[in-house]
């Protein structure tokens, strides 16, 4: 087969083992360098900005007047700015860095037409920047996870389409016969989310559904971002990184394949459990509850696999920053999913819904699971792209301890606080048969917990700063002479 030079030619499948595009891993890394560094830097900047918003939003829970005289910094805006900066800024950019890089390595192909991806990425970040500004300026749409004002969402949707198309092209260029389980996960994610996003935008903003359907669309979308984007990206990355770092294949590859297909077939149905207690027909909720409980199957598979792959290699794993972060994330995937399935039960949800418990669960998912795996992925990826070592082991340690301890404490504090909050909100005074606590009383009772949340936030912030310094330091280090021609770092003879 001749080397395709135009885009149309390049779209025809080349899935033949070791064809003309076949590349050494170090060559794959080199071809991904610009893209990888671009998305890591963008993600990092959003992470830092999102952290500032997070601290402000958190402090306002116990110091209500903090920054209260500027409309830009009112709680309703900062909170949404935090969510959107973290999800569309940090989480998506980190995914765009880590997942396509792993995909390219598994496809063993030199990537081409990277401008499509870069173009999508630049517009994605412009879109998110305008969107976050729009939220702070008071233009937000009052639908959680879709707060970006309507004037930027088309940019984001189109940027996303470019990115999705490029990743699927990348898959078509593969030079390997077997499709590894991580590739399945990434394909599913990049193929589905642009559709879901466009659909949700149309149904919420451009041709708005009203009432119950709007709420259903909202949570169907928000949950699919978790289930069909963040989860497959992070689980796919873990299925690559853990065996890769340890040099030991996945314990049961067979189970991992089953786990993928279970997720692909069921997850889409689980989103409506966010509406328990809402004005929705009971059967819709019941269907969502069944699907939510079904999700236990792939979760257990992932748990067995990651645990058994690491077993006996704990000391080796501890010596690797990547393994520390990724295994922490994988353990929390299991924990957050099992807890989530329990939270879908009506009797539990009656207490936890509309409390800090949910926010604890959200951070357990997007932080302890997803974000930690992305940190691990970046620790593995950046030295290979830049052919340079991380400048400081100490900063990595600081990052690890502050974030692992910080987020765990945060989740514990919010869960206990949320449970107490839920009990107090539901409590009935037996004599008068009315609510036992006034709403404001419950709010005030939560102050110790929200203060503790802010403290854990400061701890996590220290970790983010350490991460930031390490990356900037690494980027600024001049490449050692001649390093460009060297193969992948850490290989014999490198």
């Amino acid at each position: 087969m001749s080397f395709p030079s135009t885009l149309t030619e390049a779209m025809s499948p080349t899935a033949e083992p070791k064809g003309d595009l076949w590349a050494k891993l170090s060559e794959v890394d080199r071809s991904m360098k610009v893209l990888g560094v671009f998305f890591i830097v963008c993600g990092l900047l959003w992470l830092m900005l999102g952290t500032v918003f997070a601290l402000v939003a958190s402090i306002k829970f116990h110091n209500v007047d903090f920054l209260g005289d500027s409309e830009f910094w009112t709680w309703g805006r900062v909170r949404s700015a935090h969510l959107n900066a973290m999800i569309y800024g940090w989480a998506f950019n980190a995914s765009f860095a880590v997942a396509p890089w792993i995909m390219a390595r598994l496809c063993r192909t030199r990537v081409r037409f990277t401008n499509i991806f870069l173009f999508g990425g630049i517009f994605w970040n412009i879109g998110v920047a305008i969107g976050v500004y729009g939220i702070l300026a008071g233009h937000k749409v009052g639908v959680e996870w879709l707060e970006f004002p309507a004037y930027v969402t088309p940019i984001i949707a189109i940027a996303f389409a470019f990115i999705g198309v490029w990743v699927i092209l990348l898959f078509r260029w593969r030079q390997t016969g077997h499709v590894y389980v991580s590739q399945w996960y990434f394909l599913a994610a990049f193929f589905w989310l642009p559709w879901l996003y466009a659909m949700a935008q149309i149904m919420i903003v451009f041709e708005p559904a009203r009432g119950v359907v709007q709420a259903l669309t909202n949570w169907w979308f928000a949950h699919n971002v978790l289930g069909l984007w963040l989860t497959p990206i992070a689980v796919g990355a873990a299925y690559y990184l853990i065996p890769k770092v340890l040099g030991r294949p996945i314990y049961s590859y067979y189970l991992s394949v089953i786990g993928f297909w279970a997720l692909a077939l069921f997850y889409n149905w689980a989103g409506v459990h966010h509406l328990i207690g809402g004005p929705v027909p009971a059967w819709v909720i019941s269907a969502g509850t069944v699907a939510s409980v079904m999700m236990v199957i792939p979760v257990i598979v992932v748990a067995i696999n990651h645990h058994m792959t690491v077993v006996g290699l704990h000391r080796e794993g501890w010596a690797s920053p990547t393994i520390r972060f990724v295994v922490f994330g994988a353990i929390n995937y299991t924990a957050v999913s099992l807890l989530g399935s329990a939270m879908a039960l009506r009797s539990v949800n009656e207490i936890t819904h509309f409390t800090h418990f949910t926010v604890g669960h959200a951070h357990h998912g997007v932080y302890s699971f997803f974000t930690m795996i992305m940190f691990g992925g970046i620790y593995y990826m950046l030295p290979r792209l830049l052919k340079r070592e991380w400048p400081s082991a100490m900063l990595i340690s600081v990052h690890w301890w502050t974030t692992a301890v910080g987020v765990t404490l945060m989740v514990v504090v919010l869960s206990i606080g949320g449970f107490v909050q839920g009990m107090q909100l539901n409590a009935i005074d037996p004599e008068t048969e009315t609510a036992a606590f006034e709403f404001m009383e419950v709010m005030r009772n939560m102050i110790p917990y929200t203060v503790m949340r802010s403290m854990t936030g400061v701890l996590i912030t220290i970790g983010h700063v350490a991460f930031f310094i390490n990356i900037v330091w690494m980027l600024l280090q001049r490449a050692a002479k001649g390093s460009d021609s060297k193969p992948t770092l850490l290989t014999p003879g490198a």
Binding site: K24, L25, S26, L106, T176, H178, V179, Y180, A188, W192, M199, A209, V212, V213, L216, W220, Y240, P243, K244, V245, L246, G247, R248, P249, I250, Y253, V257, W261, A264, L265, N268, W269, E316, A319, S320, P321, T322, I323, Y379, Y380, P383, K387, R388, E389, W390, P391, S392, A393, I396, S397, A480, K481, S483, K486, P487, T488, L489, L490, T491, A494
Partner: protein, 75 residues
């Protein structure tokens, strides 16, 4: 649109999603993707650069295999 209309639309969309996934699953099966998982699980390794059985990530300068080389790694 009425609520019932949306439910039908949603059901169609969810059905397409399910069928799409099922079709891909069928393709994968026909393609022999599941016939040799033992080898498949090892496609992440590479004899030349990152072979099976060798750990590939350490804290900087702490690779026990190459204690003296480590500080210069990547140079």
């Amino acid at each position: 649109m009425e609520f019932g209309g949306y439910i039908i639309l949603g059901a169609v969309f969810a059905g397409l999603l399910f069928l799409g996934a099922a079709a891909v699953l069928w393709w994968a099966y026909r393609d022999g993707q599941f016939s040799d998982l033992e080898t498949g699980s090892r496609t992440i390794f590479d004899d030349e650069e990152e072979p099976e059985g060798e750990q590939t990530d350490f804290f900087p300068k702490q690779n026990p295999e190459k204690p003296d080389e480590a500080p210069r790694r990547g140079e």
